[in-house]
Symmetry: C2
Subunit: 70 residues, 2 copies
């Protein structure tokens, strides 16, 4: 089974592309560094619940919906 | 709004009590240290996605269900 952080990164990228927003703009909006955002989408970070919450808020989603299907 | 890790800790404690399993037994089953489990339930840890996944598996739940309502 794929590493959960890789799966999560793909999910974030897919959602971000759906709303047609750049990595840089999304990272700025939710208050994290762009390079960190790049690492998250590439599954290179073991993201914390704080970061997951920031991302969920950025997509105006609850945590449960953000992690649906993972 | 309450710190997301405090809210998550309460959720884990509630679920663990529902299945009537001790902190020690649950921590052993999912492969984390008991004191770490205590800290998680008390909201003292900024849990990672890896740990969240271990906990979800321990409850035989998907991540989305574990985080429902947070």
């Amino acid at each position: 089974m794929e590493n959960i952080n890789v799966v999560f990164g793909k999910r974030v990228k897919e959602l971000r592309n759906q709303i047609k927003i750049s990595q840089e703009k999304f990272a700025n909006e939710i208050g994290i560094d762009r390079t960190y955002m790049t690492d998250i989408e590439n599954g290179k970070r073991n993201v914390s619940l704080f970061i997951i919450e920031k991302i969920a808020k950025g997509f105006e989603m609850c945590l449960s919906d953000l992690l649906k299907g993972l």
